[in-house]
Amino acid sequence: MSDWAIRVRELRYAYPDGREALRGLTLTVARGEKVALVGPNGAGKSTFLLHLNGLLRGEGVVEVLGMPVVEANFPRLRAQVGLVFQDPDDQLFSPTVFDDVAFGPLHMGLSAEEVRRRARQALEAVGMLHAAHRMPHHLSLGERKRVAIATVLAMRPELLLLDEPTAGLDPRARRSLIALLGTLPQTILVATHDMRLAAALCRRAVVMDEGLIVADGPADRLLTDAALMEAHGLEVACEC
């Protein structure tokens, strides 16, 4: 077993219209690390995350949890890499919260009993077990974000990829989500421009801009580097 959760070398990807999204990106993340991927809108953060479970494929080397990201590995990869999309309405497509959390385990081919057990545990972990039989559109945005995280936790992934988990949340929902993420044992790569989330959750930060990694280091140093942050359309995390 390799010690790397993510190993990416010289990854290039261009959109179908020819625009370059990733321009030779190189990054390694060790198992157990929690890393903030910060950068302005359009830096390529979401596009990069989609490469880590094979939803998008570019040129270059991508290895996740010791496996090259190739078609033969997709079933195992997708079971071990939990990707949480920015808009929970994209992630929660089932009639009830429970059905949605059960979707992943069900498609991993687990037994009905195991599916039910995992769905209940995942909902419990995010504090949403009481809403199991509710419909997603009756939940608040913060609740839907929690359920969206439960949908991937139910698959017991080793690596969590989160795309802007705090976007659109009010301060209370945001704080409670950050606290929840802090309790998770998984390796986490979180794409965000919420500097306070990055500072609170991650020891390491990676700054991305225009399809490249432009800085990589301890979060407390990078995120307080006013010149660096300003140069890439970000802001310094305040001390709170």
Partner: protein, 256 residues
């Protein structure tokens, strides 16, 4: 937002039994011959009993039925004039016949009962349970999944449309062609609406792409799986068999 039932999913009759009984009810109502008023009254009172037991909100149930009834009435409007029989009344070239009136009244009665039964089912059963019932009764999984996601995203689509409409109205305090409401105004509104519909379509299309990615990310590879619903309880089977027997009896009484 429509008033749909939402419960913890454990109370009341099995959704499959409800669905089958409702379908049976509608089949019997449709199969009854014209003029079987006693049987219709029996069926109506059975609906009444169900509504009382389930503590249905009368006002909203009647509102829903009233909303659909004009369509049935419109479709049945020609019946009194086109059915052969004894002439009751002449209106110009049209002849109103007794048999025609009977068929008209019977059709309205059937429609009323069927709509009420279906509304009762939808009001008292959470939609997710109905979808699950359909699936376990053999409706193809993909079809149910399409219906379920159409239901799930109808709310989001409606919210998106409402937001866009609000944004449009907030920017159109003064009409570019003055206060008049002539053809130009209509044309201008129609263009705005057309743009809005196009925009909604594009947004939905993009969303469907993202939903698909979210499904693939969680292991979807072209085959949908679903959890089997809980086993039939004896109580639900008794209710189903008893209800069906009652409906059959009613039908036999009617056709005799």
């Amino acid at each position: 937002m429509p008033e749909m039932a939402e419960s913890d999913g454990t109370s009341g009759l099995d959704p499959r039994a409800r669905l089958l009984l409702t379908l049976g009810f509608i089949v019997v109502v449709t199969a009854l011959p014209d003029g079987a008023w006693v049987e219709m009254a029996l069926l109506a009172s059975s609906l009444l009993v169900v509504a009382v037991i389930t503590r249905t909100d009368w006002a909203s149930l009647l509102r829903r039925v009233a909303l659909l009834l004009p369509f049935a009435a419109l479709a049945a409007l020609s019946l009194p004039f086109t059915t052969a029989g004894e002439t009751l009344l002449r209106v110009g070239p049209l002849r109103l016949t007794d048999r025609g009136m009977l068929r008209f009244a019977a059709l309205i009665g059937r429609t009323l009962l069927s709509i009420t039964a279906a509304s009762l089912l939808v009001r008292q059963t959470p939609m997710p349970q109905l979808f699950q019932a359909l699936q376990s009764l053999g409706v193809p999984r993909l079809l149910v999944a399409i219906a379920a996601s159409a239901y799930r995203y109808s709310f989001i689509l409606a919210e998106e449309a409402a937001r866009m409409d609000r944004a449009r109205r907030s920017r159109s305090a003064d009409l570019p062609c003055g206060r008049g409401r002539g053809l130009r105004w209509l044309w201008w509104r129609a263009r705005g609406l057309g743009g809005m519909i196009g925009m909604l379509f594009l947004r939905s299309y993009e969303r469907s792409e993202r939903i698909y990615l979210a499904m693939v990310a969680r292991g979807y590879a072209g085959t949908l799986y679903a959890l089997e619903p809980p086993a039939w309880q004896r109580r639900d089977l008794y209710a189903l068999v008893g209800g069906m027997a009652g409906l059959l009896l009613c039908l036999l009484m009617g056709v005799r």
